[in-house]
Assembly symmetry: C2
Homo-oligomer: 162 residues x 2
DNA sequence: GAAGATTGAGCACTCAATCTTG
DNA sequence: CAAGATTGAGTGCTCAATCTTC
């Protein structure tokens, strides 16, 4: 196969491969730093940070799975481990009045809230250090616009009956 | 935790979260399409496409692992499975003259070359469909520049003794 | 019967230890 | 003993099947 046999322009190839490599490397760094410095797997961080911004009652397993981009069964087991670590709790609707008793809500424990409040600024600083600080205002806007356009087209395709 | 307690501007947050979500969704789609339509896991595709562009002798395990961004042990097992499937071969340096006999080179079989030549244009078309077609020339250049800048800073940090 | 969540089985990755060669 | 590759042990994800509730 010759390198020239491609459907892409050089610019398109550079963009796509650049994005893949950049996100992979930045995420690798963020993940390693959090694991080593904060003792926290990045997947746990994702759950904690979404719960920290959740409404009073927490999120259902479904909502939370969508937010952290994980399968339902994957989240069940992740939450199991985080409960063992004392960071979150399950709340079945047993004592909640007139709520759908199928849904399980997940909420932070005190320890979980303390941990995420300590770690979140550290993580944000690292994202700034590895990524955000190298972008201009113009680039921020350009990238955000492109991402939102792509995401919106993708979600439209999910519903073929439009 | 109040939503306002953040070290980031709204624009920065939108960029970072947008990129994560966009790349995750696009990759999910590409992966599902390749699995369903071509019967090929995306990790296998990555290996095949790098070998298709390799020099005559193929790549060493080390080189290939770096290119597909995988650990050495992960690649060993992936190559095992791809050999079972008849797509690649290991070439120890036994018969090669005066070459380091520790390195193992990986090369495509005929079946592997046929497969990647069939699948590569399909994949490229899907990347265009889900992602590239929605970007302007300006955005392509902007994103590429930003990615390359971030990657270059990251690789500089890897060598503290400069 | 459909929806929310969990469980079972299987797969593919990682780090650390080992084997071989330089 | 350093470097390339593989093996062992463990982790954490996925899809499909199951249980409970609507």
């Amino acid at each position: 196969m010759q390198p020239s046999e491609t459907l892409w322009s050089a610019a398109e190839k550079d963009t796509w491969l650049g994005l893949i490599r950049m996100m992979s490397q930045v995420n690798r760094r963020l993940s390693a730093d959090m694991e080593q410095q904060d003792g926290l797997p990045i997947a746990w961080y994702d759950v904690l940070v979404h719960l920290a911004l959740a409404p009073e009652a927490g999120w259902s397993m479904q909502d939370l799975a969508a937010q952290v981009m994980m399968s339902g069964s994957g989240l069940t087991r992740l939450v199991d481990r985080m409960i063992d670590a004392g960071l979150v709790q399950r709340q079945r609707a047993d004592e909640r009045q007139a709520e759908d008793r199928r849904v399980v809500r997940v909420v932070l424990t005190e320890a979980g809230r303390t941990l995420i409040e300590r770690v979140r600024p550290l993580h944000q600083q690292r994202v700034r250090h590895y990524f955000l600080q190298h972008l201009s205002e113009t680039e921020l806007g350009c990238i955000t616009g492109a991402c939102e356009r792509v995401l919106s087209k993708l979600s439209q395709e999910d519903m073929p009956h439009v």
